[in-house]
Symmetry: C2
Subunit: 306 residues, 2 copies
């Protein structure tokens, strides 16, 4: 089985390194960072933290070098999904299926513009790049995957990919309907991410301060109302995820705060923007999510010194 | 007539310097900045920009040096009203009346804890400190003053203070009910200030970006609903103030953005916090103002590295 990792940031690297250890699985990695790719090819991909090992796999910045693959796992920022898929789509021309393990919702729709079969996915592990070729595996966690409904991806493919991942040491649950898991994480992210990015508070502090802790809950309530109107049953309580994260040791900055501090474009369109868009479709008002979206858009705009 | 200026930042300095030129008016200035006070006493208080002159007045950091005064004009940040009044109250023990020209609402209630007569005020001029003893007068504008209702301040006193100020070159309109003018500026400030502070956008850019421009309007609508339920007739349209400010030349940062950049405590309790509090009293929901309040509180909290 050939699997292509699309985007080897922290999450893509963790998936790719695990899979490369499974017998019968050949892993190819596509990334735009030449130093990271060169380090992987020279010394292997090193994982440290929640797991410690170095894996050998084929990495490249040139998508044309990658052979046809059975599966893809895309782990780019949501904002990079479209350009990445435009480069890599040919790898899946032979009915290969691409699984998103990205943040937010809306990535599968973009992937489906480029390949025949798409798998919806949500992942909870976290990590960070330590240096080229070396990724810190900060938090272990489950991954849920299931067919992306419009592409009618066969469940057999979802199960096969899940099996390979479970053999690799990642914990993956295949589901007929993975929307519940995805929306649960979406609602968590759409509350904690913009508030962290706008206040500069790490997750624990924002949860404990009564004003922002209440805002988390108010944002979650809007997201839950939209999911309910869409007929999605959530996979647990986003509030419990907030509390669990707040009780973890250390000061964890939400990924959107990391983006803001690094002056990167954020994933707000795939988080609060997506909740607003789906809310409009099902007739549920989302004024607070719209406010978060507007403020983050404004913050991004301010960097252009308008 | 003796008038005491309480807080000689840009606005207090502009009022004090103008009044010091009026025959029969003796101006005393109380401020906590020793360099500013020393410069005023040595070289006079210099105003440049929309008006150019240097005025002689008595400045001190020691409130005990100030004689009994007929009127006070308090121009501190709202967050400094209570400590400033605690120091200066004795100056008005002989039925002196203190007029607020501060931002937001809620200052008069604090002043009334310290003196018998309070005058409600709202002012539109803008300026900035250039150096100790020298203030830039950036924008001319009107000031509205009227009795603070609970202290039953006689209208004769309001008129007398307005007359002195009009003689000085400031344009002051005395009103039986000054709440409309105050709430109009409050609603303007409570929309433009937190959005500017959270996005780092200057006023013109935030007005022109559709996402934040719409957020201004949504915040204004909440404030207007609260004012209406309180029986307050606004003094014009806050949206027109937003547009007028956006069309002014240059890049003007809202005062709350200036506070955030300087890591000062903001006036959000007297702006969005006050709209939320009054909204609760009159039964009008204010979710967006509550959200702005929570985010600014979070941003202030993040400086303590919690």
């Amino acid at each position: 089985m050939k699997i292509c990792i699309i985007g080897t940031g922290a999450i893509g690297s963790i998936f790719g390194a695990h899979l490369a250890r499974v017998e019968g699985v050949e892993v190819h990695a596509y990334d735009v960072s030449q130093p990271h790719v060169d380090a992987i090819n020279k010394n292997g991909l090193r994982i440290s933290g929640a797991a410690d090992f170095t894996a050998r796999l084929h990495a490249t910045t040139n998508a044309k070098e990658i052979p046809p693959c059975d599966y893809g796992i895309i782990a780019t920022k949501s904002t990079h999904t479209r350009p990445a898929m435009a480069q890599i789509a040919h790898v899946f021309a032979n009915d290969g299926a691409v699984c998103s393990v990205q943040n937010g919702v809306g990535n599968e729709e973009i992937i489906a513009e480029h390949v025949k079969f798409v798998i919806r996915g949500t992942t909870f592990p976290a990590g960070h790049i330590i240096e080229p070729g070396h990724v810190g595996f900060d938090i272990k966690g489950d991954t849920w995957i299931g067919p992306f409904e419009p592409t009618k991806t066969p469940m057999s493919g979802v199960n096969e990919l899940a099996e390979a991942l479970n053999k690799s040491g990642m914990n993956v649950i295949p589901l007929e309907d993975a929307r519940g898991a995805q929306w649960t994480k979406l609602i968590f992210n759409a509350s904690t991410n913009p508030v962290g990015a706008l206040t500069l508070l790490h997750h624990g502090a924002a949860t404990r301060l009564p004003a922002t802790g209440q805002l988390f809950n108010d944002l979650i309530a809007e997201g839950e109302a939209v999911a309910k109107a869409m007929g999605i049953t959530l996979h647990g309580d986003p509030r419990a995820m907030v509390q669990k994260g707040a009780n973890a040791p250390g000061k964890h900055n939400a990924s959107m705060l990391q983006d803001v501090l690094a002056k990167r474009i954020t994933e707000v369109d795939f988080m609060n923007g997506a909740i607003v868009k789906w809310g409009e479709q099902v007739g549920v008002p989302t004024p607070l999510n719209k406010t978060m979206w507007a403020l983050i858009k404004g913050l991004e705009h301010s960097r252009t010194n308008p």
